[in-house]
């Protein structure tokens, strides 16, 4: 018997079949040949082989293997070798197609890259600020411990710090936390390096702080337990990575170097890890010092923080024991809080302890707006990307008419529909990936721009935007997804070409291209609607911030210059500090252009509230119902410098001194709240932790103390000459633009003492700017994305209108030949385009009104359906859309009917 099997196997070798499948085919075919051989008789062996058209067998088998499976029989799955070689072919072909039409490729690439770039940038922000704000070990196991008031009294967030002694007790007793550390807020301290004073931020931390977070030093080491046992004994500091780079040039011999903090020499023992700026996600310190050095860093009135149980300083950071839940830790802290209240009622009455996941505590009260803002921005940029996708989908649809011939030829050559779709999708995914690379670069650029917009004086302390692996994965995934989204509809459409129809048709098939235009119109109307929504949102926030700028804070900001000074940190004692305050006032008042000067302890809009004020003649309140007010220590002429009018009584005078009656000035809100329907002048009250009663000598108008446009708050002003403070802010009222005096004042101060840091300088309008910084950033981003969306949508509109005019050349030619004027032809085209725009605007308006309701709570003084915001945005969009439609309409009206008809 001839060796059929060998012969067949030889021919099937190139097919790369699965071995089992190959064996089956060989068995079946050789059986066939054997039967034929038996039929022909012994001499037929040669004829049997000669009868087989071997050249045809292999391609036929290949073709049958590619047949799409329709039924349930899953016989002969495509061998993997094919899939791979097909993919390589698809890739080559796709590259060739993209190179072949550079115009289309460039427009699509740029459109998508802008969309992907916007997404990458916003995702980087969200990732750096919300998803992964802290580069610490296993953040889910970390929790913040804070003091809370059992009954909420203050309006500004209810998480408060814990005093050192309370923290120490909790730490010794806790079982829920494996380790419990404490850290203060970043404190402004004066660092003197080579006799040059600088204002930097230091955080006071317990020695186990870094261990609890599970981070490791970049250089050197962190604090040892022994360095945090005796007050003042171990002046050592750990430098932040950013501060090391920017203030010390990243020199490698930094360890062991001595710097002066508030005139105390500290030795640098380590540098923190890269990217770590403390556990507040937004604002971080330049360096850390052990808690036993607190007295050296804190202002005079907080120097006894380590011994006074009533003085809050630390936020606790605990690492949960394995297996302990947050709820269990919370239960334990509640018990600890109750025990502390019972044992030390003087300091702890009405207070409890609360546990928050560190990720939440990282923002404090600002978390909610930050998260909502992040979600809103993510939603907006995904809409921008959707617009970009639908634009490119439209381009592909328009192009598919050009490629019909090519596709028809390939179908007639035996290409299956799935195979075609795969090829088309390979092209669009490839386009998506190229756009992803470009978009990643755009996103990177966008992040650098955003970082450069941070207020310069704090830029080093603010969170960095980190482009890390997760951002890269995100951009990659978005790029692929984008390719699939914009590619799938055109691919399905294009592959549905009927061979006979294309080969038959001499002119373009009307019905089909009209169907394509209908789909394109729908995409366009969607784009218009989404762009409108984005523009309306941007418009509403723009209106809102405009209103915010118009808010009268109750004090003048136009002619105000502010200088923060920390004489206490330069080693001044009380006598010298008081002398210094007087000297500075004298010198500054003599500077030309300055009309009045004064001192105050609070920065505008950074008022500190104190709780526990007692009012004479009124029954003593429980601590849980304590009166709170903003307390501001001010010097003479403060009110005239700030432009705050008196309603009653007098200003502080030279005679209000240490030895005279303690006095205070209150605002009208406090007067109305605690002395309703009576004259507050002459009444007396007591500050928390103060034994003396203060007599009210004046009532002034209420201003904004913490935020712009806040509800009226009680405020009490006390005279500097009766209340010593070792750091103050110099307020200078200028006659003209305050920037003229910004240089002159520090020069005067340096002539008094070159060792004083005068770095915190700002004008009144800058204070307002900073207060509105977040809103401004938000409006800027919204506006930028809104304009990007509008730009993309109008390019898309223009493209599709131009395409539809080119499709209708014949019809337009006929119309013009029959006497239609250029005007009526333009009108025809314009009407078609603007109908699409109008339907988009209609849908967009409805969506905006819905969204406006949701956004209303973020808007100030503007309703979600603000007619100027909504109307203005619609008008802007209609105007741009009109131009995008008008250009093709004009070119249609200039069509030469003869040429158009001849072409057709």
């Amino acid at each position: 018997m001839p060796e059929w099997e060998l012969e067949i196997r030889k021919h099937l070798a190139g097919l790369n079949l699965r071995p089992e499948r190959e064996a089956e085919i060989i068995e079946e075919l050789s059986d066939h040949l054997q039967q034929r051989y038996e039929e022909l008789g012994a001499e037929g062996a040669g004829q049997v082989l000669a009868e087989i058209d071997w050249r045809n067998l292999v391609p036929e088998l290949q073709a049958s293997a590619r047949t799409p499976e329709r039924g349930s029989v899953a016989e002969g799955a495509t061998p993997s070798g094919h899939l791979f070689s097909d993919f390589a072919k698809d890739l080559q072909f796709a590259l060739r197609m993209l190179r072949k039409s550079p115009g289309f490729t460039a427009v699509a690439l740029l459109t998508l890259a802008l969309g992907i770039g916007a997404n990458t940038a916003v995702f980087t922000v969200v990732d750096s600020l919300i998803l992964n704000p802290l580069p610490v070990e296993k953040i889910s196991g970390l929790a913040a411990v804070n003091t809370t008031q059992l009954k909420k009294t203050s309006q500004s967030g209810d998480l408060q710090a814990i005093s050192y002694l309370n923290l120490k007790d909790i730490r010794e007793q806790t079982r829920a936390f494996r380790t419990l550390a404490g850290h203060s807020y970043p404190m402004a301290v004066t660092m003197t390096d080579k006799n040059e004073p600088h204002r930097i931020f230091a955080e006071i931390v317990t020695a186990n702080y870094f261990d609890t977070l599970g981070i490791h030093p970049f250089l050197g080491r962190f604090f040892l337990p022994g360095e945090d046992r005796t007050p003042g004994a171990a002046p050592v500091a750990v430098l932040g990575y950013t501060a090391w780079q920017s203030r010390f040039g990243g020199v490698s011999d930094i360890l062991g170097k001595t710097i002066k903090l508030n005139e105390t020499p500290f030795t640098i023992i380590g540098v923190g890890p890269k990217g770590f700026k403390g556990v507040y996600a937004v604002f971080g310190p330049d360096l850390w010092i052990p808690s036993m050095m607190a007295a050296q860093a804190l202002p005079a009135e907080q120097r006894n923080a380590l011994t006074d149980r009533g003085m809050p300083l630390f936020t606790g950071i605990g690492r949960l024991q394995p297996g302990i839940t947050l709820a269990q830790a919370q239960a334990e802290m509640k018990i600890s809080g109750a025990a502390l209240e019972k044992e030390y009622p003087g300091a702890n009455e009405g207070k409890s302890l609360t546990v928050t996941p560190l990720l939440e505590a990282a923002y404090g009260p600002e978390r909610q707006p930050v998260v909502l803002g992040g979600i809103l921005l993510m939603a907006i940029v995904s809409f921008v990307l959707l617009i970009a996708c639908s634009n490119v989908a439209n381009l592909l649809l328009a192009r598919s008419s050009v490629r019909r011939q090519e596709i028809a030829v390939r179908i007639s050559l035996g290409a299956g529909r799935m195979r075609l779709i795969r090829q088309l999708l390979t092209e669009s995914v490839l386009l998506g990936l190229f756009s992803g690379i470009l978009g990643f670069l755009f996103g990177h650029g966008g992040c650098r721009i955003l970082e450069s917009l941070r207020p310069a004086e704090y830029a080093e302390n603010l969170a960095d935007l980190r482009l890390n692996a997760s951002v890269f994965v995100f951009a990659f995934a978005v790029a692929i997804l984008t390719g699939l989204i914009f590619g799938i509809v055109p691919a399905l459409r294009t592959s549905r070409v009927s061979v006979s129809e294309v080969l038959k048709e001499e002119t373009r098939s009307r019905g089909r291209s009209r169907g394509r235009v209908a789909l394109a119109n729908m995409l366009l109307a969607g784009q218009v609607a989404v762009s409108l929504v984005l523009l309306v949102v941007a418009g509403l926030f723009l209106r809102s911030i405009e209103r915010e700028y118009a808010i009268d804070p109750g004090f003048q900001t136009e002619h105000l210059a502010l200088f923060m000074l920390y004489p206490g940190q330069a080693g001044y004692d009380r006598v010298r500090t008081e002398q210094f305050y007087k000297l500075v006032l004298d010198r500054a008042a003599r500077i030309p252009g300055i009309s009045s000067v004064s001192w105050a302890s609070n920065l505008p809009l950074w008022g500190r509230q104190e709780t526990g004020i007692a009012i004479e003649g009124q029954e003593a309140r429980k601590r849980s119902e304590a009166i709170s007010a903003v307390i501001d220590t001010v010097d003479l002429n403060y009110f005239s410098t700030m432009g705050i009018p008196f309603l009653e009584g007098r200003d502080f005078t030279q005679n209000d001194r240490d030895v005279s009656t303690p006095v205070a000035i209150i605002n009208e809100t406090m007067a109305a709240q605690y002395w309703p329907n009576q004259d507050a002048l002459g009444k007396r009250f007591q500050l928390p932790q103060d034994r003396e009663f203060l007599e009210i000598v004046g009532v002034v108008k209420t201003t904004n103390y913490q935020t712009l446009g806040e509800p009226p708050q009680a405020c009490a002003y006390i005279p500097l000459r009766q209340h010593y403070t070792d750091s103050m802010i110099l307020y200078a009222r200028s006659e003209r633009d305050p920037s003229t005096v910004l240089a002159a004042v520090p020069t005067e101060i340096h002539s008094l003492d070159p060792g004083l840091a005068v770095e915190d300088i700002r004008t009144g309008s800058k204070v307002i700017d900073q207060a509105l910084w977040w809103s401004k950033m938000g409006v800027g981003l919204l506006g930028a994305f809104g304009l990007l969306a509008l730009g993309l949508a109008s390019v898309g509109l223009y493209g599709i209108m131009a395409y539809s005019v080119s499709q209708r050349r014949r019809e337009i030619g006929v119309r013009m030949a029959l006497g239609a004027g250029p005007g009526s032809v333009s009108f025809l085209v314009l009407r078609q385009g603007m109908a699409v725009v109008a339907s988009g605007v209609g849908v967009g308006m409805a969506l905006s009104l819905l969204l406006g309701r949701v956004l209303a709570r973020f808007l100030y003084g503007v309703s979600g359906s603000d007619p100027i915001g909504v109307g203005g945005a619609s008008f802007a969009l209609l105007a741009v859309a009109f131009v995008a439609c008008y250009l093709p309409a004009r070119s249609a009206s200039r069509l030469d009917p003869l040429v158009a008809l001849r072409e057709a």
């Binding site: 089956e24 085919i25 068995e27 079946e28 075919l29 059986d31 066939h32 040949l33 054997q34 039967q35 034929r36 009868e51 087989i52 058209d53 071997w54 045809n56 067998l57 036929e60 088998l61 073709a63 049958s64 293997a65 047949t67 799409p68 499976e69 329709r70 039924g71 349930s72 029989v73 016989e75 002969g76």
Partner: protein, 113 residues
């Protein structure tokens, strides 16, 4: 040119032929080829190179189903039978073919038997 036309016609009708032959009973490849040749009086002839790929294609589409069958004193052979979907397709193709043949006949003046 003539042979090319023939090829195309043969290709167009091959599916119909195979499906029809499997309508009554399962058959193996050689039998199908032989039957086509015999019943067409030698006009139609399917070679290995086109017959088996066609069978595999029909099988993959789920119109026919192949199964190895072992009988006494014989090598095992792959028998194909018509599936329910194949039955539907066969009826459809039969109707189409009749329409087509009828139309061609009316135009070309070919008389029906």
């Amino acid at each position: 040119m003539g042979t090319k036309v023939e090829e195309a016609w043969k290709k167009g009708s091959a599916e119909l032929l195979v499906l029809s032959l499997l309508e009554d009973q399962p058959r193996h490849g050689y039998e199908i080829g032989k039957l086509i040749e015999v019943r067409s009086g030698g006009t139609l002839h399917f070679h290995v190179a086109s017959l088996y790929p066609l069978l595999y294609r029909l099988e993959k589409r789920g119109w026919i189903e192949g199964r190895w069958v072992e009988k006494a004193n014989q090598r095992r052979r792959r028998y194909y039978r018509l599936t329910a979907e194949g039955q539907r397709v066969l009826e459809l193709q039969r109707r189409k073919w009749q329409e087509f043949a009828g139309a061609v006949g009316r135009i070309a003046g070919v008389q029906h038997a």
